[in-house]
Symmetry: C2
Subunit: 488 residues, 2 copies
């Protein structure tokens, strides 16, 4: 029997006849011989000729078969080779036929006039990884985290770990953020003011997409966080760099029409200075007067080694402050989890935008983090982590004083130091020389907009990833690299 | 001592004086009395009067202090209350002052002329959850998954689990996708043709953002996957619904200028029919002739119960096919992990777009999935899962035949059945009545564009989430609900 009619009540009979024909061809029949006449096929299938004719007609319309005088119906010869491809793909054929001009097809992206930061993500192969933004695997609370993940896969939690939650976040995590994380920052929030994100950067992305219209201005810190500027530019905004001094962003230089002022008030990225109290008040007044917004990236405020961190700008209660929090800087950037606190209408829009991009963050990761905060493991780990980092911070400060400047006194928080180079040295050059001696450090130049004359005068030395006992020897190597570098 | 000068070599002296003044005020000093004269302060700090004057001048410019004739420098009274807010936030003050008109500020979003699907995500409280898109917790391979997560937190994997990977994916997962997942679909891919996403929907989002320009057409299946249309509309596209019949999308009705044709060829969403072989060839020819693209959502192709799934459209090797894969449908939607296969230039753009939104997917989840595929646990689970689903599929088919139509014969794959209602009944009405009897089912109407006359004629019965032994009693309840419903 060549033709098999499926039983399928929801589909007209001629469609099933049509599929029976297709399937016979797909099995390799009627490739060289004509298809049966409509009369013969009708008899074989026990259906009317009209039905068979309808099926043939549709297949002719779609180019699957052709009707030839005196021969009858034949499968379209051009199609047969296509069918073979579909049925048994040529394993050698990975790439396409090269007919697509991708440059014409891909949508253009705006750039902020900054280079892209390309880091060496295989930083472990360096003996002295003074890299920013990574963590030491040994500092991660593996046992506590595994326990939390395992619990998240038990009842009643497993439901939340596995489900499609639509646009919802894990209610337990949101609750822990409101009650156990935000109060330390002086911030009060209701659940509808919180959105869970894939890290701080995702919060910047969602806020930009919700608020920025083409060609609007965003004021950013100079030097500042380059990825943020890329995000704003991609949302269509123009970037207005505003200088940072020892009190943080020079708020007086922010233009009135900057729709968003992006700041990192706790430990400025990359200098680690804190935004001064006067500047904070001035900034809030500025956005209030101009009907604009502050985007506060509070990515590592817990990592302060002397005194207590001051409250966040959002602690003022101003609805013009959009607060971006992250768990990456102390737990691990690879977890990709953070949150945003803002007024409910903005959160609602960001939530809808997130729903139609990635729906929600992984349920198990959200639930495990909530369980870890709830059990106290989170804050225990944070305290231990902070005391390790404080040791590193001391060593770093001492080291930089001994190799660079006896008066060097770093800001009291963060996970990096912003070190000025001797006059005439070029930071990019020093970084390259250092890499050859096994030191992974970052040039400050990628954090500056072009027009700053001191763009090449700073190194950024991260100390979260490097083991404690590598800091001193690493800084000694750096000392030699600097000594051997010549002013350019 | 009222003023404390920090040692900080990288900042001009007057800035440190300025901060000393701010900090004194923040500590509560000089709120009612004037600040010291520049001469007195210079003496106290051991700096020059010029330096103190520079500091005062900057604070005046920023509105922090005012200079009053015959009194000297005073802290700006308006500012004092702000400082108090900043220093000690009012715990009762959660919301802002209501001065923001959010409707004016939020960027508008296009909608596709479809309602938003709002499901009941607390589906566990229904005795008969015939819901689509969720999984039964007992079907999830908890032990194997926990093992994989734990291994991902050991050396050498932990590095990949914790690191910030920039725009990179876990190389091990990409390798497993290329060697252990795609071959079953007939698809060959090199690592640079693969991007890991937060589920299939994220792949649709990234592809739309990369390819669609404002007002371009996207052809979608009608009935079809509404969230996809929301994603296309939000990318600026116009939606062109094209009818689906028993062979899938009616390709002849796709307009030539549809820049993207969105299809679900394995098991059409929501009808589960497979795209016929002739249609497949016709579709590939169509996009080739028109210099356009196919977006192939292959979300549950492994879930086929009779025969083998046919190869994916991407198996043709056409560079015009963008293949979207997902691990959600059989593992769990809550994991949020999937992938895209496409030509390298497109993948590169999507990777950059992802970098500036969420960087990458959680490292540990990627690594654990790779380990689970590599150990064979993935395919073992898939086989077990498929055989459970096959049992459910049989029961469902029998049940629908006995309550609806003796000739009902469902398509041979997927995790739902698309059931036509008796003439005159309204699916939304039946769904509401069913909910009151403990049945959670979905109306087919949300999958249709308005202009289809049969929009309210179908139910969608999912069977992945409901326990096997609830299927028969649940369908009996449904039978009574349908019998009691009157034609509207």
């Amino acid at each position: 029997m060549n033709f098999l009619l499926e039983a399928d009540s929801s589909d007209p009979l001629y469609r099933r006849v049509r599929r029976a024909i297709e399937q016979a061809v797909a099995r390799g029949q009627y490739r060289t011989t004509p298809l049966p006449s409509s009369r013969a096929l009708a008899a074989e299938l026990g259906v009317s000729r009209t039905t068979v004719n309808l099926a043939y007609q549709e297949l002719i319309t779609e180019g699957f078969i052709v009707s030839e005088p005196r021969v009858g119906y034949r499968v379209n010869a051009d199609l047969l080779s296509r069918l073979d491809e579909l049925g048994a793909p040529d394993p050698a054929r990975v790439a396409g036929d090269g007919t697509v001009d991708w440059t014409a097809h891909l949508r253009e992206r705006s750039t902020p006039g900054l280079p892209e930061v390309s880091k060496d993500y295989d930083w472990q192969r360096y003996p002295y990884p003074f890299i920013y933004g990574q963590v030491q695997a040994s500092a991660f609370p593996v046992a506590a985290w595994n326990r939390a993940l395992r619990t998240a896969m038990q009842q009643p939690h497993i439901t939340y770990s596995l489900r499609d939650a639509g646009s919802a976040d894990d209610p337990l995590l949101v609750d822990e953020i409101c009650t156990s994380i935000l109060p330390a920052r002086g911030v009060r929030a209701e659940p509808e003011q919180v959105l869970v994100t894939a890290g701080a950067q995702h919060g910047l992305f969602l806020a930009s997409q919700a608020l920025l219209r083409r060609d609007e201005l965003v004021a950013v810190e100079n030097p500042g966080y380059p990825d943020a500027s890329h995000i704003f530019a991609r949302a269509g905004a123009k970037i207005c760099p505003v200088d940072v001094d020892g009190s943080g962003l020079r708020v007086s230089d922010v233009p009135d029409d900057a729709r968003i002022v992006f700041v990192t008030p706790s430990h400025q990225f990359p200098t680690n200075v804190s935004l001064g109290v006067a500047r904070r008040a001035q900034l809030l007044d500025h956005v209030h007067a101009n009907d604009t917004f502050v985007l506060e990236d509070d990515f590592d405020s817990e990592l302060r080694y002397v005194g207590q961190p001051g409250p966040a700008l959002r602690a003022s209660g101003s609805e013009r402050v959009i607060y971006i929090g992250s768990f990456s800087k102390f737990l691990a950037p690879g977890l990709r989890i953070g949150f945003v606190v803002a007024e409910a209408p903005l959160i609602t829009q960001m939530r809808r935008d997130r729903r139609y991009s990635l729906r929600h963050l992984p349920g198990q990761v959200q639930r495990a983090l909530a369980l870890m905060i709830g059990s106290g493991d989170y804050h225990r780990t944070l305290r231990r982590h902070r005391s390790t980092l404080r040791e590193k911070w001391h060593l770093m400060g001492q080291g930089v004083r001994s190799i660079r400047d006896k008066a060097f006194e770093p800001p009291t928080g963060g996970t990096s130091m912003w070190v000025p180079l001797p006059e005439g040295l070029d930071s990019d050059d020093v970084v390259r020389r250092a890499a050859r001696r096994g030191l992974l450090i970052e040039t400050g130049s990628t954090c500056f907009y072009d027009d700053r004359p001191d763009r090449h005068s700073y190194l950024r030395l991260g100390f979260a990833a490097i083991p404690l006992n590598r800091i001193e020897p690493g800084l000694h190597v750096l000392e030699r690299v600097i000594r051997d570098s010549r002013p350019v």
